[in-house]
Each structure stands twice: as C-alpha cells, then as structure tokens.
C-alpha cells in the first residue's frame, strides 16, 4: 500500500488511489452503512429529491438511492473480481502452457485465442442470457468466456520473452525442473506486466458488466447493480436526475481511478512498456 | 606550432533536465591532419562530450567553454545548431552503429550523392556527382563500386556498411572526421581494415581524425595523441608512443596495465581495484583518486584543470605524474 502511494506523482494519481481505496472499503462495508433496505419499495416516497432523510433521493419505486449505491458497490466489485480471477488464472495457465510447449500446439492455441477474441462479448452475453435467462450470472459467464484469450495471449507473449532470456539458459544448465522454472522464474518476472493489465481491466470489466446490465442482459432490477440502476432510472431523467447521476458518477469515478492506477503502475513497474497490442 | 584545426577550451557539459555537470573543464586541440584518440570506459563521458560539442545530444548542453573550428569561434547563442551545421560539411561523423545509420530504403549511391548535394549546396551535374560517389566508394575499399552504387544497404555486411557510412562522410571532403567507437560492432579483421582506412585517409588527404574508443591499445597503435577521460574529467593528453614507455598519468598507466596486449604476460596485467566512477559523480577532487595507487589525501580535494593548447604530453595529475614534458 505504501509503495503504491510512493508511485503516485501527480494529484490525479493520488486522488485515484484515494477513490479506489474508498470504493474497495465501500464494497466491503457498504452494506452495513446503508440506511435503508436497497430493495424496499415505497410508492409513497417515490422520486424524492435528495434530502436529509434520503441523502441521494429515491428512485422511481421509492427505493433509497444511497442504500442501493452502497450495496451496488459490493455487487459490482465482487462480480468484477469473479470475472477477473477466473480469467486471469485460466488465461495465464493457457498462455504459459502454450509458451512452454511451443511448436504446433502453441500455434493452434494462439489461433484459437485469436478466433475467440473475434466474438463480441455482447453477442456472447445475449447467447448466455437466452440460455440462462438474463441475469448477473449470465453477464459474468459471458465476460469470462470472452475475456480469457486476452490473458492467454499476453501471458504467452511475456513468457516467450522471459524464456528467451539468458537466466533461463542458466537455469537449464543447473537442471531446474519446469515447475520450479514457472514458480521461480516465469511468474515473478511476468508479475509486473500482468498486474498492470489486471488493474486496467478492473475498470474495463466493471464497465462491461454495467454496460450489459444497462442494456438488459445482465443484472435485473431490483438488484442494485450500478448499470441496472442507470437503466432503471433512464425514464425518470426529467424529474429524477439524481437516480441516474449517482450510479453514473460512481461507475465513472471507479473506472477512472483504476485506469489511472493501471497507467501509473505501467509507468512505474514496466519502463519498457511491453504490452499487448489492442 | 601549427594552428589548431579544432579546439575546445574549458568545456563543461551539463544535462538539460537537472543541470548536473557530466563532463567538466575539458580542453584539447587537434591539429590539421592529426589522428587524435579519445579513450574512456563506459560512463567516462566521452560520447556525451563529443555528441554535445557537435550538437547531436538533445538532453545535454554546453554550460561553459569555447569551441573553435577552423579559426572560427562557435557562438554561445544557438550553439547546438551552429555546431550541427558544421557536420556533414567540413566535419564528418561516423557513428557507432553501421546498421542504423544508413537509410535502408534508399540506394547506397543516392545516399552519397545526396550528401554531396548537401555539402556543396549547389549541384555539380548528375554525371559528375555520380562519378564522384563511385570514386569515394572505391576509395573506402568497396569492391565493384559501380555495382554497389545501385544496391541497398542491407545487401552489405556490417564492415561494408561501416565503409559506406565512412564513404558518405568522406564524400564531402571533411577537414575533420569524428568516429565514435566505429568498430565495436565489427570483428577483429574488419575492425583493423576500417581503422586503417580512416588513418590512411588522414595521412593521404591531411584530414584530421578524432577516434573515440574504449580500447586504449587500439588507439595507442593507431593515433598520434590520446586524450584520456575518466569520470567526466579529462586527465591526460599524451603522445601515443609514451604509453607504456614513459611516465603518464596514473589512470592512463593503470588502464594500460589492464589490457592483455600481444607483448604482455599474465604477470604484466594489473587490474584497477574498485568500480569505475560515472560521469557527473559530483565531487571536487580527482575522479580517479578513489582507485589510484598513488593517491594522497589532497587528490580528493582538488583537481588540476587540464586545458588549452599546450603542446605534447599533458597530465592533470596533482602529484605531477606524467606532466614532466
């Protein structure tokens, strides 16, 4: 944590770090802080402007926006983490395997990843939504399915680069077994590149989940997912601007901070800026 | 004593970003037709100094000193631009890397004729320009220069490419040629040929040569005088013949003892203890004092400036070693 802080060079980066910390804290403790039940409908209190009782007002069904926002932090962050962890573990495993075996298998796996990347996540999500029913789980599965090749390709590239370095020859000369090469040589040296990508992807995946929810193939109302909240609040923009603004701002600020942090990490950890081409 | 063709006096080079002085108080002069060597280990500042003096280094600048070429003092205002203007005309420059200093998409002949146009400012007729280019290619020892004229750089080996770079520099008939480690990328046999080619040109056309190298033995056998840089300071200007036979500056002596040359046995090799000090190390004393076997406490405090156009041997050693000429 302290190292992260020392990396920050500009006030924007310091702000991003603080914001990211707040979002993470909200994801952990937000549910306890929420003053109301986020799904409690109260038609007598619908579309109330921000007040001392409802700090961020209420939505079209009279639900407290602040409470929804706080619960939503957890949902958004958890689903992002779910996607990321599966994608990183699976993608990195495929990429590393591909780099180690090389030859035709390597070629085949990478072509597969290329073809896979050709499927737009939106179409996949629609497919999953029709199979599993439109839900947050469907959106998560769709993202997992469409995102792993990014990591497979990145990890393969980084691993191939590491395997060509002289210290690997030196390890071979000592007879270091493959599993030890992976744990002691490849993973520690690939870590910097991967952590940068992961940080940048936090915001990308978060946006994707919210986006899918917004168009109706992800989280469904009344679940307080931020994207779904915007979708739900759309129809009230004229007389309830706060309903859209609050989750919109949260999405924007969270995505923005993780993006800034990702760029900062890339600058600090990876001076040569080896990175996957988009 | 002949008038110096090129001289720098009390030149100090600092980084633009933080003003850190990387090379301090260097003064040396090169006579017309002289082969002059500059030796230094990595971090000695030899490349930074040369590149800055000739306006090629964007991140460093001259913060003090005067540079004179062919009787003309380079202006303080717009120094880099004025210096760069000399390059490619009266001063030729051969960089270290023969692979990146040629345009891979342009025929060799075209690159030479272009240099000729630029140098003369006025075209001298396509036929004569081409003839001159082929002549220069022949002079640097390219076999079948007529054929080479129409070929692309990647059709040549490293050594041949370095000759082409050399030919481009020579096409303008420079009075001074600067070569910065021109042979580090080449094998020993090609290295010798390229160096001898440059020296030959020096002798036959009265062109002065500044040869920058980390290889003291190469310089000792090739050039007339050698300037020795260490830690961003100029420590010694010595006749090449004096190295190994007469007292020179302690660093020059120590550096020479490190090199396993033909005449030496294992017992003659003596390593310098410690690590080289980088340029811009930032103390006031002699940069070499920490590794010098003769060093006395005073050496860490003060440094003799080595300056100007004094003839012959010259040493910055405070203890007077190598300064007895």
């Amino acid at each position: 944590m302290r190292t992260l802080w020392t990396y920050a060079r500009t006030n924007v980066e310091r702000t991003a770090l603080i914001l990211a910390a707040i979002v993470i804290l909200l994801a952990i403790f937000g549910a306890w802080l929420a003053p109301f039940d986020p799904t409690q409908i109260d038609f007598r209190a619908r579309l109330q402007a921000p007040s001392w009782e409802h700090l961020l007002g209420t939505d079209g069904s009279g639900r407290d926006v602040l409470s929804r926002l706080l619960h939503g932090a957890q949902i958004t962050i958890l689903s992002t983490l779910a996607v990321l962890s599966v994608v990183v573990v699976f993608g990195c495993a495929v990429g590393m395997f591909s780099a180690f075996v090389g030859g035709p298998i390597d070629n085949m796996l990478m072509r597969l990843a290329d073809v896979w990347l050709g499927f737009p996540p939106l179409i996949l999500a629609l497919g999953f939504a029709s199979a599993l029913g439109a839900s947050l789980e469907a959106a998560i599965w769709a993202l997992i399915f469409s995102w792993w090749p990014n990591y497979a390709r990145l990890t393969r590239m980084v691993t191939v680069d590491i395997l060509s370095r002289k210290f690997i020859a030196s390890a071979d000369a000592l007879g270091v077994p493959t599993h030890a090469k992976v744990t002691r040589y490849v993973i520690p040296n690939a870590f910097d590149v991967l952590i940068v990508q992961v940080t940048l992807d936090i915001s990308a995946i978060m946006l994707a989940i919210s986006g899918l929810s917004f168009i109706g193939v992800g989280a469904q109302i009344p679940m307080p997912e931020w994207g779904a909240m915007i979708a739900d609040g759309r129809s009230y923009v004229a007389n309830g601007w706060w309903i859209v603004l609050a989750p919109g701002l949260m999405i924007f600020l969270t995505a923005f901070s993780f993006n800034v942090i990702g760029d900062m990490l890339r600058r600090e950890l990876d001076p040569t800026s080896r990175r996957r081409q988009p | 004593m002949t008038e110096a063709l090129f001289a720098m006096d009390d030149v100090t080079v600092a980084l633009r970003s933080n003003g850190r002085k990387m090379v301090t108080g260097v003064g040396l002069s090169v006579k017309p037709g002289e082969a002059f060597g500059v030796v230094g280990e990595s971090g000695s500042g030899k490349t930074l100094l040369t590149r800055t003096v000739f306006g090629l280094q964007d991140d460093a600048e001259l913060v003090s000193g005067r540079v004179r070429f062919d009787g003309q003092l380079l202006p303080e205002q717009g120094y880099a631009r004025a210096a760069r203007k000399l390059l490619g005309g009266r001063i030729g420059f051969v960089p270290q890397d023969p692979f990146s200093s040629l345009n891979p998409t342009m025929r060799v002949g075209k690159q030479i004729t272009e240099a000729l146009y630029l140098a003369r400012g006025m075209p001298m007729g396509a036929q004569r320009t081409k003839a001159r280019a082929i002549e220069v290619l022949g002079e640097v020892g390219i076999p079948e220069p007529e054929l080479a004229f129409n070929q692309f750089p990647d059709q040549f080996s490293g050594g041949m490419r370095q000759r082409i770079v050399f030919a481009i520099a020579l096409a303008q008939e420079p009075k001074l040629l600067i070569a910065d480690e021109p042979t580090t990328a080449l094998d020993a046999i090609t290295q010798r040929r390229v160096i001898e080619l440059m020296l030959g040109r020096c002798r036959s056309h009265g062109m002065a040569l500044i040869l920058i190298s980390h290889n003291l033995e190469l310089l000792r056998q090739s050039v007339d005088r050698i300037a020795v840089l260490y830690g961003g300071q100029l420590h010694n200007i010595t006749h090449a013949d004096d190295i190994g036979s007469r007292t020179v500056h302690p660093y020059t002596e120590a550096l020479f003892e490190c090199i396993p040359s033909k005449e030496k046995t294992l017992a003659d090799i003596r390593a310098i203890p410690g690590e080289p000090v980088g340029a811009g190390f930032g103390t006031k004393g002699c940069a070499f004092a920490s590794r010098c076997r003769y060093a006395e406490p005073i050496c860490r405090e003060t440094q003799l400036p080595l300056n100007g156009d004094q003839p012959g041997r010259f040493s910055a050693c405070l203890l007077g070693r190598g300064a007895d000429a």
């Binding site: 020859a169 | 020993a188 010798r192 290889n215 190469l218 396993p260 294992l266 090799i269 203890p273 690590e275």
Partner: protein, 258 residues
C-alpha cells in the same frame, strides 16, 4: 579419477533449420573434434558467427547436435537416462557473456547461488547452505552481506562474479566460460581475469574458455581451438598457435588484433 578425457567431441555437426526464407548458416557447425583433458584450460577462439557459442551450448547440453558423438568422461551423453542427465548438470556449469541477463532479476543473490545446492545437494541443511554461499561470495571477491540483495543493485563486474559463484556452487568438474569478459569495462575485465587465474590456481577445475579475444586466450589457456565459419581451422598449444599460426585465417586474425 578416470583416465578418460572429460570432453570428447568427434565429428559433431549441427545445422539450423531453414525458417521461411531465413537460413541461419553462420552458426551451423560441421565436423567438430574437440578433446579436453582433466585440469586443462582450453580456449575456443573465434569471431562472432564462428559457431563457438554453439559449441558451448552443445558441451553443456543446452542444445543438441545432428551428427557425431559426444563422450563426457567416457560416457556417451546421447545415452544418458534422466538421472544421469540431471547429474551431468552438476558436473558441468556455464557462465554467460551478459551478466545483466544471466541472473534472475527476481531472485536474491543468495537464492541464485543456492539454487544449484538445493537441487543437487538436497541432503545439505539450510545452515550449511548459507555457509557455502558466504564462502563462495568470499571466493569470488564479494562482501558476505550482499546475499540478500537483488542483481540490479550490482555492477556488471559484480554480477559476473555472482554468476561465477552460482556456477561454482555445485562444485562442477568442468566450467564453460562463454565470452565472460566481453561485456565488461576494460578495468573490470582485468579484475575478472584475475579472478579466473586465481580460481584456476586454487581449484581442481577444467575450463573451456570461449572468446574472441586472442590476447586473453593466449594468456590463460593451455590449448586453443580456432574456429571459423563453423569449423575448427587450427588447434594446438595456445602459445604456439597464437604466436606461430599455420592456418591462413588464424594468421589474418592475429595480424588484425591490436
């Protein structure tokens, strides 16, 4: 101790496959005969592209070969089973040219040096290993406290010393030095050269010294093989070959050297 030469290459050849329009002819080897006796310091001298580094990789079994035989201490390495192959790695070690690339940047110096001990001397306890590392650091002329630091904190010369300590940790019988001085500063080259001379004097080592530097080879090698375009063009005692060459290429090379 056996009477076999430690390394015996006979008629070894290696070609590199054509890769779509690119033919890597310069590093191909043909008909390499090299014999290295125990305790010898043998130089392999050649320009870049002569194939000398490929020889280093074949001798250390980092790469295979297409034809010929390689007997290590009398045993055919092609017939090695897994166990023998692994044991081979503790009997032969290599130090590479580039000290910046040959150490794992994410491992401490002590971990790098210890790695071979952990693999090949599993019976050794932690304290003994630590003591060995300290002893090796001292032997290569590094302060004992640098074990906990990372390679980037060291200069090129110091890193090369670390790489040498790492190679020596498993007590190899044969040490292959692949251009170990070429990327170092002149004054540091002499320091590392002195270290080699010291190691040759103090340890029971056989050394294959691969270099393009005629003068260094002449100073520290007993015998020398001169390589040119993937072939051995001349061999003999280093002093003899490098003062009175019989081969035209060797002669040209010697004439060119400063």
């Amino acid at each position: 101790m056996s009477g076999h030469p430690i390394v015996s290459l006979k008629g070894v050849a290696k070609t590199f496959g054509k890769r779509l329009l690119v033919q890597n002819r310069s590093f191909a080897l043909s008909d390499i005969d090299i014999t290295v006796g125990r305790g010898e310091v043998v130089g392999i001298l050649g320009e870049s592209g002569s194939g000398k580094s490929t020889v280093a990789n074949i001798v250390t079994r980092l790469t295979g070969f297409d034809a010929g035989t390689y007997l290590f201490d009398g045993a055919d390495v092609s017939a090695f089973d897994k166990k023998e192959g692994f044991r081979f790695k503790s009997r032969v070690q290599i130090v590479f040219q580039d000290p910046y690339g040959s150490l794992n940047p994410r491992a401490t110096v002590a971990a790098s040096i210890m790695e071979g001990l952990v693999l090949h001397r599993p019976e050794m306890d932690k304290a003994t290993r630590r003591a060995r590392v300290a002893q090796l650091l001292d032997e290569v002329g590094l302060p004992a406290d640098c074990g906990d630091r990372y390679p980037h904190e060291f200069s090129g010369g110091q890193r090369q010393r670390i790489a040498i300590a790492r190679a020596l940790a498993v007590e190899p019988e044969l040490l292959v030095l692949d251009e170990p001085l070429s990327s170092l500063d002149v004054s540091i080259q002499a320091q590392v050269l002195e270290l080699f001379v010291k190691l040759i004097g103090e340890r029971d080592l056989t050394i294959i010294f691969i270099s393009h530097d005629v003068n260094v080879v002449r100073l520290i090698c007993d015998r020398v093989y001169v390589m040119h375009q993937g072939r051995i063009v001349e061999e003999g005692s280093a002093e003899d070959v490098l003062t009175h060459p019989r081969n035209a290429y060797t002669e040209r090379l010697l004439a060119a050297v400063y």
